[in-house]
């Protein structure tokens, strides 16, 4: 059984909508009928009596492929179409009207086909046979109602096997449509037509989904390449000692500020490691009941190291105050409970008081309580100052510039922005004051307590924060249902 491959590769063949088998779209070069055996099966029983739509432009478009192949359009209501054999011959269909002329090719009868042999033009090419479901009548064994392939690339089209397929039984009336000068329009929409359309749509859909899959795979490949590139960059940057913070820096402006932020993040990580080392030394010293003098050296070392972080924070605030205030350099749990870019001094003092250090004298207890109260008051004052700052920013940014249109509005806008910029500049001062408060609280505590008490206090504080950091990690790694 032969299968016709009918899909002219030429785009201009699909100019007319009647050739669109899908209702909605007609994409060019794509109606490739790969397996027309289905057509044969589906077209088994036709009871349509209407003629097929074979508009002239369609037929003309079939013809107007730019090779020299001729297209023979045969109606499939040619019954007893036994030994139709157009492939051997180079055929040119002469203009004809319905029912006028016949060709004698064997066992055909009542067909009106006219063939001319045209040797010169189509020596090596067979005729392309386009057989359309035409006409009325009853098909018992519908053969090749298929489209011939006019593709120039593939040579699969023109095997028209004549012997067994062209059985058109029960045909009453046949009409030969000739490509060259087809003028009649048969508007019969037969079941054939619908089946053809459906099958064509299926093929179309399959093809589209293949194309989509291909596009998706291509995108995946691109993504994979990009990921490799990024990983290489990261590797290189790490080797150069840069600390790439998590998250992708957003826009260009953020990249500019990112240097200060990245530098601080790197420095902070190193500071934390050093801090842990110092604390471990202090812990082993306390546990081994070291003498006060050596202990004092260690305690002073930890205090000096705290001074270091406050100095670093002020440098970082000059570079990128929002990064410092955001606390992105801290772990999530620390960040959640932080105040003005760091820990709350009053809270730290509560931790110390609640930990029952070595017994405090009354004076020491009073000192620590006063310290807690004054740090609380200072924190409240700074918090209210920050609220006032936010309030005034809200007022500045939301001031109505609904004046007369034109340059006045722009001047207003720029003026307001300048004021807002000035207000933002005070953020650095607030952060500085907050860090100062933290530093001074630690120093005052160091002054009030003895060396040993101070050593234990520092251990308590450090343990509290390291547990908070561990809590962060646990939370992030928790199993989620």
């Amino acid at each position: 059984m032969q299968s016709f491959k009918a899909a002219p590769s030429n785009p201009e063949l699909y100019t007319h909508s009647s050739f669109c088998f899908r209702g909605d779209e007609c994409s060019r070069n794509q109606t490739r009928f790969s397996d027309l055996g289905e057509l044969e099966h589906s077209a088994a029983a036709f009871t349509h009596e209407d003629a097929v739509d074979l508009s002239p432009s369609f037929v003309f478009s079939l013809k107007s492929n730019n090779n020299n192949d001729n297209i023979v359009v045969l109606p499939n209501n040619l019954h007893h179409h036994g030994t139709f054999n157009p492939s051997a011959a180079c055929l040119e269909i002469a203009p004809t009207t319905t029912g006028t002329s016949c060709v004698d090719t064997g066992q055909r009868h009542q067909q009106e086909v006219v063939y001319h042999q045209h040797h010169q033009q189509q020596q090596q090419k067979g005729a392309k046979v386009v057989v359309l479901p035409l006409g009325n009548g009853h098909f018992e064994n519908w053969g090749d109602s298929a489209m011939a392939d006019n593709s120039q690339q593939t040579d699969t089209s023109t095997d028209v096997d004549t012997d067994e397929k062209h059985h058109f039984h029960g045909l009453q009336h046949g009409t030969l449509s000739v490509v060259d000068s087809m003028e009649d329009q048969a508007k019969t929409k037969t079941g054939d037509q619908k089946t053809l359309r459906r099958l064509a749509q299926n093929r179309e859909a399959a093809r589209k989904s293949r194309l989509r899959k291909k596009a998706y795979v291509q995108q995946l490949e691109n993504g994979r390449l990009r990921l490799q590139q990024l990983e290489q960059e990261l590797q290189r940057a790490r080797q150069q000692g840069l600390f790439i913070s998590s998250g992708f820096p957003g826009d260009h402006n953020q990249l500019l500020a990112g240097n200060g932020a990245l530098a601080f993040d790197l420095d902070y990580a190193r500071w934390l490691d050093e801090h842990q080392r110092l604390i471990n030394d202090l812990r082993s010293a306390v546990n081994s009941h070291m003498g006060d003098n050596e202990l004092r050296v260690l305690v002073d070392g930890v205090m000096a190291h705290y001074d270091e972080i406050f100095r670093m924070k002020s440098v970082g605030a000059k570079a990128d105050v929002f990064h410092m205030l955001s606390g992105m350099w801290k772990t999530p749990a620390e960040r959640c409970f932080m105040w003005l870019g760091g820990f709350r001094s009053s809270e730290v003092l509560k931790v110390i008081l609640g930990n029952h250090l070595e017994p405090l004298t009354d004076q020491q207890l009073l000192g620590i309580c006063n310290l807690q109260q004054s740090s609380q008051q200072a924190e409240d004052a700074l918090s209210q100052g920050m609220e006032a700052l936010q309030q005034s920013l809200v007022e500045t940014l939301s001031s109505a510039t609904l004046g007369p249109a034109g340059s006045g509005n722009v001047a207003d806008y720029m003026g307001q922005m300048a004021i807002a910029m000035g207000k933002l500049a005070t953020l650095e001062n607030f952060l500085y004051q907050a860090d100062l408060l933290r530093q001074q609280t630690l120093q005052q505590m160091h002054r009030i307590l003895t060396t040993r008490q101070a050593a234990r206090a520092l251990l308590v504080i450090s343990d509290y924060f390291s547990r908070l950091r561990a809590l962060s990690s646990l939370w992030l790694a928790r199993p989620r249902e």
Partner: protein, 124 residues
């Protein structure tokens, strides 16, 4: 909190004496127990006012941006403190304490409250 604006403008309209800003500052500072030189739009000034009010102190505030010779006074304060952005500046008992960082440091290390009591701004 007492805001000293009206009495000054009244006195200025009668006397056309040019007063040296530094002297003026010192005179203003000695008039009350706690004197704050501030700016109405400054948020750090707001914070320091809240700090004193939270402690129960009633400071006298001079808003320099609302003052007729405010800019001169501001320059004088800058020269006194040796810093570019001076405000807020606090005087307690006529003596200069300093800007926000000094005030807070003295509060944390426990020297502020005795100072306030000595100046008569706090009673316990």
């Amino acid at each position: 909190m007492q805001y000293e604006t009206e009495s000054w403008s009244r006195s200025n309209s009668y006397m056309e004496v040019v007063v040296d800003p530094v002297e003026h500052i010192e005179r203003l500072a000695s008039e009350n127990a706690v004197v704050i030189f501030s700016m109405s739009s400054c948020c750090m000034c707001h914070a320091i006012k809240r700090l004193f009010c939270g402690m129960g102190v009633n400071p006298t505030v001079h808003e320099l941006d609302l003052h007729p010779t405010g800019s001169d006074l501001h320059k004088a304060l800058v020269s006194l403190l040796g810093a570019t952005s001076a405000l807020p500046v606090v005087f307690i008992g006529g003596k200069l304490v300093g800007a926000m960082d000094r005030v807070m440091a003295s509060h944390i290390n426990g020297t502020l409250v005795p100072l306030l009591k000595e100046a008569g701004a706090l009673w316990l």
